[in-house]
Amino acid sequence: MSATALVEARGLSVSYGETKAVRSADIRLDAGDRVALMGASGSGKSTLLHCLAGVLPPDEGEVWFEGQRLNTLRDGQRSDLRLRRMGVVFQFGDLVPELTLVENVMLPLLLTGQRRDQARRAAMDALDALGVAAVAERRAGAVSGGQAQRAAVARAVVHEPAVIFADEPTGSLDTVNAEAVLDVLVSLATDRGTALLVVTHDHQVASHLDRLVTMRDGAILEPAAARR
């Protein structure tokens, strides 16, 4: 393993009042790593993901991204980092309903200064790969949940980030469409060395990824082999 990880968290703890959502979690992602994060509902997966993406400052511990410690960066710098280097997918509500799908996908490109026609072409390609090119010109408020979700994935991959954090990216998709989404993510990881961290309840989704990290009650469980 190389000295600096792409993403590394040490001793992360997050509490919401009495609830300990994450307890001294350690996790490391290198370029090209594909990790599935599983665990029962409420086990702290989303919370961990938010910490890694730099949206939620942990109560304890530190998160490093490409050699920078996220906790020491200002909010604007972290936003910029997410915009350029990370792709983040959530299950619901992260598209702008008034914009068309393709405009939604163009957002990260436009914000990083790409020309409009270039951005548009890249966005259409991404939507095409995810099988939603046909509804690209519809407003995000007027497409199905699964179509919106795939557009959200397109938005997370369109700028070819260094890492993609996806929180249940296939939550409202059938198996076949979920496969298509995972194929896009995995091929990005293979071709560009993008690291993947995918939260899922679905083992078929997890089976696209090389490593399985399980959480229980806020703690990351030892890999199964180290048990007993």
Binding site: H203, Q204, S207, H208, P223, R227
Partner: protein, 176 residues
């Protein structure tokens, strides 16, 4: 499901007559088909021959039902190995998983480990299948996804059971 492994593990709880063993078995594992007495005595005889169990008491009268058996340290090792060794994720052969988990619960072994390791093996197989699927032709995709779907079902059971373990342990503990 390996009936004899289950019988041996039942013996682990306490020395028992063949008759008691059959009762126990039927209670925990025989929902679908009660065990025949013959199979019980056959297994016990084999345990004795292989040094996995020994006779600790012979009652009055004649016939196998007089003997009380007790597990040997070798027998415990065999049960250990059986419980903790994940099975090949063969689509049709996972039924022993259920038995192994039950035994682990009854015997106070780590049922979580049984589940974890089976999960790991299943996942490994699924990864291989996904790999295969990506380069596969249409016909092959069908068979690969068929297996994937079944493994997925197993895994769902593994997850569900993992969440129920505490309740189950209490129930099994109460029964023993």
């Amino acid at each position: 499901m390996s009936t004899s492994s289950v019988l041996l593990s039942l013996l682990e709880r306490s020395p028992a007559h063949g008759y008691t063993l059959k009762q126990d078995f039927d209670l925990h594992f025989g929902q679908r088909r009660p065990l025949a007495f013959g199979q019980v005595y056959q297994s016990l005889a084999r345990f004795e021959r292989d040094g996995l169990a020994e006779v600790v008491e012979v009652g009055p009268g004649a016939g196998p039902e007089r003997k009380r058996y007790q597990i040997t340290p070798d027998g415990v090792t065999v049960v250990d190995r059986w419980v903790y060794t994940p099975q090949d994720p063969d689509v049709f052969a996972t039924s022993s998983l259920f038995a192994r988990v039950s035994v682990a619960l009854m015997s106070g072994r780590l049922a979580e480990s049984v589940l974890d390791e089976q999960r790991a093996v299943h996942m490994e197989r699924m990864r291989a299948l996904q790999q295969q699927r990506r380069g596969a032709g249409p016909a092959e995709v069908l068979s690969v996804t068929y297996e994937l779907a079944h493994l997925d079902a197993d895994l769902r059971w593994i997850e569900d059971s993992g969440k129920r373990l505490d309740a189950l342990r209490a129930a099994f503990g109460g029964a023993s």
